[in-house]
């Protein structure tokens, strides 16, 4: 009898904790999405579904494949107090939820790649870039193959360093 009652409470606690687990990154995005210091991009699963169906003449097959595997994109960028926001973002991340994939410094900017995975599949790829001038957070949701994402740099002929400036101009 005791074991049954104990099992019930274990199940109840597990259920409650799984529900109560907070998506810190979503909270972080929501916190700053209306902040005028930030420029933000949100592309929903519905829009990704539409994007994967459109016919673009010059769409590279590798890009198409990666886009089909993505279910959502969130981008947050600011040039104000960049380092402060970078540190705040790092503190916000639930280390139980995300696993650090790579940490590096590139042109004076700190870059962190974090993943939320289940088995072999990466369900979320989170990139946080922070330096004196820029703070950016990009979150890709879906079933992401990191090898395929890594290969895209060769395929996509875009001036990558200007990406954040473009976001700033567009939004």
């Amino acid at each position: 009898m005791k074991s049954i009652i104990l099992s019930f409470f274990v199940i109840l606690t597990t259920t409650l904790s799984s529900f109560a687990q907070e998506d810190a990154i979503t909270k972080y995005f929501n916190k700053y999405i209306d902040d005028t210091r930030f420029s933000a991009v949100y592309i929903s699963p519905k829009m990704f579904n539409m994007v994967s169906k459109i016919e673009i003449k010059d769409m590279e097959p590798d890009v198409q494949e990666v886009i089909r595997s993505i279910k959502g994109l969130r981008v947050l960028h600011t040039e104000v107090n960049a380092l402060q926001f970078y540190q705040e973002a790092l503190k916000t991340i639930n280390t139980k939820e995300y696993e650090v994939l790579l940490t590096a410094r590139d042109n004076g900017e700190n870059v962190q790649f974090l993943v939320k995975s289940s088995g072999d599949m990466v369900q979320e790829l989170l990139m946080i870039v922070g330096g004196d001038k820029n703070f950016a957070m990009l979150s890709f949701l879906g079933d992401i193959d990191l090898k395929k994402v890594g290969k895209l740099a060769k395929v996509l002929n875009i001036d990558n360093l200007q990406y954040l400036n473009k976001i700033e101009e567009k939004h």
């Binding site: 009898m1 049954i4 009652i5 019930f8 199940i11 109840l12 259920t15 409650l16 529900f19 979503t26 995005f29 929501n30 999405i33 209306d34 933000a40 991009v41 949100y42 592309i43 929903s44 519905k46 829009m47 990704f48 539409m50 994007v51 169906k53 459109i54 673009i56 769409m59 890009v63 990666v66 886009i67 993505i70 994109l73 969130r74 981008v75 790579l102 940490t103 590096a104 410094r105 590139d106 870059v111 790649f113 790829l125 990139m127 870039v129 990009l138 890709f140 990191l146 994402v149 890594g150 290969k151 895209l152 740099a153 996509l156 875009i158 990558n160 990406y163 954040l164 473009k166 939004h171």
Partner: protein, 154 residues
């Protein structure tokens, strides 16, 4: 006490009058026969206060009790546990749904045009891919350096 009358009673030969007389005598006596007659007198007394409605109600209650399935305490506890879990899960589900609704309301779609969205995704992927490759190269250099430092201490 009249033993002959008692014997006649056990042989079922007494009249109503004799039986009443015997019961009257037994009410002042003691012993197993007296106990029997005391029980009989009490039963008759109770039976005389019962009405047809009481008997019908009693019979109905007995029938209902007989037809009702016996629930073992363990199953009753499990049922309570399952109900509680269902209730809590449903409540949290509603709460989570309302949170998600609020979240999607806050995060409005940036693009209406899928072509523009595609362009944005393409650029974002290029940016991430580039940083990923650079970070990997950086990590490889650091690993090599660490190897060199480790060799120095050998």
């Amino acid at each position: 006490m009249d033993n002959k009358l008692l014997e006649k009673y056990w042989n079922a030969e007494t009249s109503t009058h004799e039986e009443a007389q015997l019961m009257n005598e037994m009410s002042t006596s003691q012993g197993s026969d007296a106990a029997y007659f005391a029980l009989l007198a009490e039963a008759r007394r109770q039976a005389s206060s019962l009405t047809i409605d009481d008997i019908n109600a009693y019979n109905l209650k007995q029938t209902l009790n007989a037809s009702r399935a016996t629930v073992r305490p363990i199953y009753r506890l499990l049922a309570i546990a399952a109900s509680t879990l269902l209730f809590v899960t449903s409540g949290l589900g509603v709460w989570k749904y309302s949170q998600q609704a609020a979240q999607s309301a806050q995060m409005a779609e940036t693009f209406d045009d899928p072509y523009k969205a595609y362009q944005e995704v393409r650029e974002a992927l290029a940016f991430v891919s580039s940083k990923l490759n650079k970070s990997q190269s950086e990590a490889m250099i650091n690993i090599q350096k660490a190897g060199e430092y480790a060799d120095m201490f050998k």
